[in-house]
């Protein structure tokens, strides 16, 4: 596949706040990419910079071989879907979708435009609603009209800002699957912004995890979930236990047990933070980490266990299937044997908690907060 969009060293500074801090990213033609990150990570700013709605302070953006950095919004021909859709309230659905076609080609054939709009309405499964006004549509319908309007200009790339943010949970799930199907049908290169890791992992081909104006990790959904490159990514993509460990040579000491490392590479010795997801802790008959059960709570088919390590006293959370023979019988005070089935560890100095813009710049102008959301 050809590289559709190349982003090279892009920086954007609002007042003194660096919203984008040197972004490098390649987006292939036909890809569906998620920009994932917390508030203030710069994901929306990056999306707007690609669209040309925001100028960049430094760096370049290429569309194919064309340097698009200095092109205007109109010249870039991108389809942008806003979080709150930004449908033109005084126009019917038909006029909304036809807007881009009409302003781009003056004196164009109205019959042709109408036909194209009806095709697009069919594509987004809203046939028959062309005479409605936006106020007469539900949230999900508005979202799809906004999509059809953006697709009408046959954009190089489709950019979606928090596409499901304003919808309720059930509609969001349906629309997510529907959008994936639509993308597979049209094949338009698509970039969407989200702060919801579940949404990113379920919908995208590749996920770009952003934090503090930088790309923490860009990779397929499997890569970022199974092999998080940084503590931040590990933390942001799901629940975690952070355990104190010690690496010396090829072994990792963790809560009184020794684990032999499988890696061939030489890891520097020293104190580490070991990251384990609650559902990657396996309940064993013996061995592993010994922990005393604090609480046992059932949530559907999962049993959530809170326990305290006998050595070190750290609190760990484990999620186990309700069918597990030990878990189903566990009660407070029992001693369990927990084996980390999958984990990552990071030298303790580099550890970095999830931070929002408010933590980084307490006095940031509200507008910038809004924009970088």
């Amino acid at each position: 596949m050809t590289t559709e969009i190349k982003i090279r060293g892009v920086k954007k500074t609002f007042a003194a706040f660096p919203a984008l801090n040197g972004i490098d990213l390649d987006i292939a033609g036909g890809e569906l990419i998620a920009l994932l990150g917390p508030s203030g990570s710069g994901k929306t700013t990056l999306l707007r910079a690609i669209a040309g709605l925001e100028t960049v302070t430094d760096g370049q953006i290429f569309f194919g071989d064309i340097d698009a950095t200095r092109l205007t919004v109109q010249q870039r021909r991108v389809g942008f879907v806003f979080q709150h859709y930004a449908l033109f309230k005084h126009m019917t659905v038909l006029d909304n979708i036809a807007f881009g076609l009409r302003v781009r080609t003056p004196r164009s054939d109205e019959g042709e435009i109408r036909q194209r709009v009806l095709q697009l309405l069919d594509l987004v499964q809203l046939s028959g609603l062309e005479k409605r006004f936006p106020a007469q549509l539900s949230g999900g319908q508005k979202q799809r009209v906004a999509l059809a309007r953006a697709l009408a200009i046959e954009p190089r790339v489709l950019l979606l800002d928090e596409p499901f943010g304003a919808l309720d949970a059930r509609v969001r799930k349906d629309l997510r699957r529907w959008l994936r199907a639509l993308h597979d049908k049209t094949g338009v290169t698509t970039v969407f912004v989200t702060h919801d890791q579940e949404e990113a992992l379920e919908l995208a081909d590749r996920v770009v995890v952003m934090n503090r104006g930088r790309v923490e990790q860009a990779g397929t959904t499997d890569e970022v979930y199974e092999h998080p490159a940084t503590p931040f990514v590990f933390d942001f993509l799901g629940d975690i236990n952070i355990l104190r460990g010690e690496v010396s040579g090829r072994s990792l000491r963790l809560g009184g047990t020794q684990i032999t490392l499988e890696t061939d590479g030489i890891r520097p010795s020293g104190p580490v933070d070991v990251y384990v997801r609650p559902h990657d802790l396996r309940l064993m008959d013996s061995g592993g980490l010994e922990a005393r059960v604090d609480t046992v709570q059932r949530s559907g088919a999962t049993i959530l266990i809170t326990a305290r390590l006998l050595q070190g006293g750290e609190i760990v959370y484990a999620e186990v299937s309700h069918l597990h023979p030990i878990a189903s019988k566990s009660k407070n005070g029992d001693v369990l044997h927990l084996q980390p089935a999958r984990y990552e560890f990071f030298a303790r100095e580099t550890h970095e908690a999830v931070k929002t813009l408010q933590d980084v710049v307490p006095n940031a102008v509200p507008e910038h907060r809004e924009r970088s959301r």
């Binding site: 709605l53 109109q74 709150h84 033109f88 807007f99 699957r177």
Partner: protein, 305 residues
């Protein structure tokens, strides 16, 4: 996923029949006041309004017609009265379109762009509201009067501002400047810039965006602002009084003409001319009410008058 099952996406929001009649609160006895208290509050408000607003308005018309229709119409047909009507309409016809252009561009700049000195511009727009009209009239006398800064230059070029129509127009523009801008700024700020951004990404030029997206979004608020501006432009007394010089048949606007007639004890004539102004105000009020009734939702964002 099949489209047929997808009800959540296709159906519009359904409002239960019992809530369609109006606000819920009206039907909920638990959270409304007792009947006697409602009667007291409504009665108090109504009697206060009739005493201080309706009664004076009625007295204008009764006083105007006290000496019969003959006196009433002859007072209006008098050349000085006709010239006052003409001058008022001329000043309004110049001031309102200019303020329309100024107001829209100022509101556009403030609501849609970030720039240095924005707060200063907002304060400046409010200035005519906070300064006494008489003072604003005096400012023009100080600038353009015979003893003013630009006075000697103006008399050299035989161009009169003070005691002439240009002064009256300038004073009217100054006093009515905030009406349209103040009406539009909150409305446009609430609407944000997403619609404009969307139009730009779809390929519209700045001009197309303004005409096809921004203007339709603000049209009712704009019309409302124009009405208010118009009412004030016709009724303005203080600032115009200072710059006009009260030359009968030349620089007298309707409000000034009324004052002169009243000072000369021609009460019937004064009230007859006043009834014209009151009539114009009633027409404005009627239009305003009609707008609110037709487009209440769109105006709600900016309604503070």
């Amino acid at each position: 996923m099949s489209a047929a099952k997808d009800h959540s996406l296709l159906d519009p929001i359904q409002v239960p029949a019992e809530f369609r009649g109006g606000p819920l609160i009206r039907k909920n006895a638990a959270i409304t006041e007792p009947a006697w208290l409602r009667a007291l509050l409504i009665g108090g408000a109504l009697s206060f309004l009739s005493l201080f607003l309706l009664l004076p308005l009625l007295s204008v018309f009764t006083e105007a017609l006290r000496k019969g229709f003959g006196v009433y119409f002859s007072a209006l047909r008098e050349p000085d009265a006709l010239s006052a009507i003409e001058l008022t309409l001329t000043a309004t016809a110049i001031a309102v379109p200019l303020n329309l252009a100024f107001g829209v561009s100022a509101a556009w700049a403030i609501a849609k762009f970030e720039f240095r000195g924005k707060q200063f511009l907002i304060t400046l727009i409010d200035l005519p509201f906070s300064v006494s009209p008489v003072v604003s009239g005096l400012i023009y006398v100080l600038i353009f009067g015979a003893q003013g800064w630009a006075g000697p230059w103006m008399s050299e070029h035989e161009f009169k501002v003070i005691f002439a129509i240009p002064g009256i127009v300038l004073a009217t523009i100054f006093v009515t400047f905030p009406f349209i801008a103040r009406e539009l700024i909150p409305l446009m700020q609430e609407q944000g810039t997403d619609d404009e951004m969307a139009a730009l990404t779809l390929g519209a030029s700045g001009w197309q965006t303004f005409w096809r997206v921004t203007l339709p979004n603000i049209k009712w608020g704009l019309l409302y602002g124009v009405l208010l501006c118009n009412a004030r432009a016709m009724g303005e007394f203080g600032a115009v009084s200072v710059v006009s010089g009260h030359i009968r048949g030349h620089t007298n606007t309707l409000p000034l003409h009324i004052e002169i007639l009243y000072n000369e004890y021609q009460f019937a004539a004064a009230f007859a001319v006043a009834s014209i102004l009151a009539g114009l105000a009633l027409v404005t009020l009627g239009l305003k009410t009609f707008l609110e009734w037709r487009h209440g939702d769109e105006l709600a964002a900016s309604r503070r008058h």
